[in-house]
């Protein structure tokens, strides 16, 4: 794996641990279909949560959230729809975004809920 993919995997792992610590139940990671990929799918109460994780090791390329484009959000919605039709899911769904900073062993996490446009 490339360094970039390593960093992404590390970030997603950190994000999953963070969600679990909040009481979310991780259903699946890196679920993909023909519309795209969702990093984490989790359940919180009666909601299914689709999470996009962005990881950065510095701030040279802007805020991690700024890297989530409108196209990515569109594909997430389609992917979420595909997931729901394949699986029996909770009545409501939510799209979240998580930014992970990994710097010198330090991890900091920012969580945005309900990022529909």
């Amino acid at each position: 794996m490339t360094d970039k993919q390593d960093l992404g995997a590390l970030g997603e792992k950190a994000a999953a641990e963070y969600l679990e610590s909040l009481g979310y139940q991780i259903l699946i990671r890196n679920w993909r279909c023909r519309f795209g990929e969702v990093d984490i799918i989790a359940a919180e109460g009666n909601q299914t949560v689709f999470v996009e994780v962005k990881t950065r090791s510095g701030s040279g390329f802007g805020h991690p959230f700024e890297a989530i484009t409108a196209a990515k959000v569109r594909s997430m919605r389609k992917t979420a729809g595909a997931y729901c039709s394949e699986h029996k899911t909770a009545p409501s769904i939510r799209l979240d975004a998580i930014a992970v900073y990994l710097r010198g062993g330090q991890t900091s996490i920012e969580h945005l809920k309900q990022v529909f446009r």
């Binding site: 805020h63 959230f65 700024e66 989530i68 959000v73 945005l112 309900q114 990022v115 529909f116 446009r117």
Partner: protein
């Protein structure tokens, strides 16, 4: 949910509407949304605001920022909202004191480095803000002189976003102002050149008298004469006879200059109150839009509005395209012009004094005693017909000018010693205007030329014995009813000039002479 407010002003023509700018930062993916009918240059504000705030020592939150310009139905344009938007966004993100921000009107365009650039239309914007009850305004440093023309408002000139932020409770370092020398705001000079004076004119005593009458009563003037007789010279000296503008008029004129960046080489605002009456002399190839007003999308005032409260001089009047001359008729009557464009319609003041100059015929020798005019009668008729009856009808003084003769030139040397100059005549004009405005106190009119016919005949009657000559002309059909009224107006101005209580028979005779022929061009041509 955090919502912050700031205020700006949207201008359409000279009419300003205070605009409330709301900024909200919501927990969503980073985005900057600007809603509320912004035009292209205003939509670009979001990029300028983002860069300017970053370069002024602030960080915008990586969240969705929504900015709404309200009332949402008023079209907004231009870059003057940049500062207000930046301030609203910074307040929404908790970096400025909301109370202090909502208290003031913010005007100015932002540069990417956070410095402020001057905008057009500061004066009318602030007048609108003041009317809406604002007592505090923050404007770009380079617009400060213009902004200070507005009384009873606390106006602060600033040169960067950081400086504004510090006024509202932030504590960021203010960069040394770099753009101070960048824009050279030149002084608009509508002052007639000091070299221009009535005493320059040789002879032409009657014409100078006519100019004085025109100045005193605000009468429109037509001069017909051969090339070189001094028509242009005389017209250029008319503004030197006009007294300074009153404060309201001066503000009106300055506001017109303020909204049009680029007029008189002054690309952003004005830096003094224009107290002298303007003099505009468009070339005869000008378009209707240039004269009356036009603009792409947005209404833009034309030269007749720049000549507001002053003189509009059309040299070689018959050379102007017919539609231009006819387009002047309506503003001549109403003193304002309504310009409709896709972005809206605006009313601009256009209370100008019209001065026309014309040759008697295409070759220009029509009046010469030598009879060397070689125009055909048809050419002459066609030339004279360019000035239509309805237009000529609105002109009170129609004067035939002959070149100064050798005798006049000799006499004029004595004249110069007797010292007839613009300053003395201007004094006479001021006194005459004082008399007419005192008489017209309580009416919407100030000058004799503005008084409508019915009022003239009812309230400003002239004794029957004095107007025998005038009544006789009317009976003979040599004078129309409208011409009758115009002579009466001229007679009142003549009476005001000579300091008499009311016109006497001499004033009536003089008025008849100044009023001239119904078609001065045709009749002066011996065919």
């Amino acid at each position: 949910m955090i919502v912050a407010k700031s205020y700006g002003v949207s201008l359409l023509g000279l009419a300003g509407t205070p605009i409330e700018i709301e900024a909200e930062i919501s927990s969503n993916l980073p985005n900057f949304v600007l809603v509320g009918l912004p035009d292209a240059s205003l939509t670009e504000a979001k990029d300028r605001v983002r860069s300017a705030t970053n370069n002024s020592g602030f960080t915008l939150p990586a969240r969705r920022i929504t900015v709404n310009l309200s009332p949402a139905s008023v079209p907004k344009h231009g870059s003057g909202f940049d500062l207000a938007i930046a301030v609203a966004v910074l307040t929404a993100s908790g970096q400025l004191n909301p109370k202090s921000v909502a208290d003031a009107v913010h005007l100015g365009e932002l540069a990417l480095d956070g410095s402020l650039r001057p905008i057009a239309g500061v004066l009318p914007s602030l007048l609108a803000a003041k009317k809406a009850g604002f007592s505090r305004a923050i404007v770009p440093q380079q617009n400060l002189t213009e902004a200070l023309l507005v009384n009873d408002m606390h106006i602060i000139g600033v040169s960067s976003l950081a400086e504004v932020a510090n006024l509202h409770g932030a504590n960021v370092s203010v960069p040394a102002s770099k753009n101070k020398g960048l824009v050279k705001v030149e002084t608009v000079s509508t002052h007639p050149s000091p070299k221009v004076d009535v005493s320059d004119v040789i002879g032409q005593g009657v014409a100078i008298h006519a100019l004085t009458v025109a100045a005193a009563g605000g009468h429109h003037l037509l001069m017909v004469g051969p090339p070189g007789a001094g028509k242009t010279m005389l017209a250029e000296r008319l503004p030197t006879l006009l007294p300074d503008l009153e404060v309201e008029q001066a503000l009106e004129n300055t506001a017109i200059h303020s909204i049009v960046a680029g007029h008189n080489r002054n690309w952003a605002g004005v830096d003094e109150l224009l107290v002298r009456p303007p003099f505009e002399a468009p070339h005869h190839t000008s378009s209707v839009a240039a004269l009356v007003g036009g603009g792409m999308g947005l209404p833009r005032p034309g030269l007749i509005s720049f000549a507001n409260n002053g003189v509009l001089f059309l040299d070689e009047a018959p050379e102007f395209a017919q539609p231009i001359l006819e387009a002047l008729r309506q503003p001549l009557e109403s003193g304002e012009v309504l310009i409709n464009r896709s972005a809206g319609s605006a009313r601009f003041p256009a209370r100008f004094q019209l001065v026309l100059a014309a040759n008697p015929c295409p070759c220009g020798k029509g009046q010469s005693t030598k009879g060397d005019c070689n125009c055909t009668p048809q050419q002459k008729v066609r030339y004279a017909a360019k000035l239509s009856g309805p237009l000529l009808d609105r002109i009170d003084i129609r004067l035939v000018i002959q070149p100064a003769s050798a005798a006049e030139i000799a006499i004029s040397k004595d004249n110069q010693e007797s010292g007839m100059n613009s300053e003395k005549l201007r004094e006479l004009v001021s006194q005459a205007r004082l008399r007419s405005s005192a008489r017209l106190a309580g009416t919407p009119w100030r000058l004799n030329s503005q008084v409508p016919g019915p009022y003239l005949r009812r309230q400003m009657n002239v004794e029957k014995a004095m107007r025998v000559k005038l009544d006789r002309k009317l009976e003979l059909g040599e004078l129309s009813m409208r011409g009758y009224d115009r002579c009466l107006r001229l007679a009142w101005t003549l009476a005001d000039l000579s300091g008499e209580e009311r016109p006497n028979d001499q004033h009536i005779s003089q008025a008849l002479y100044l009023r001239g022929q119904d078609n001065p061009m045709e009749l002066t041509c011996p065919t």
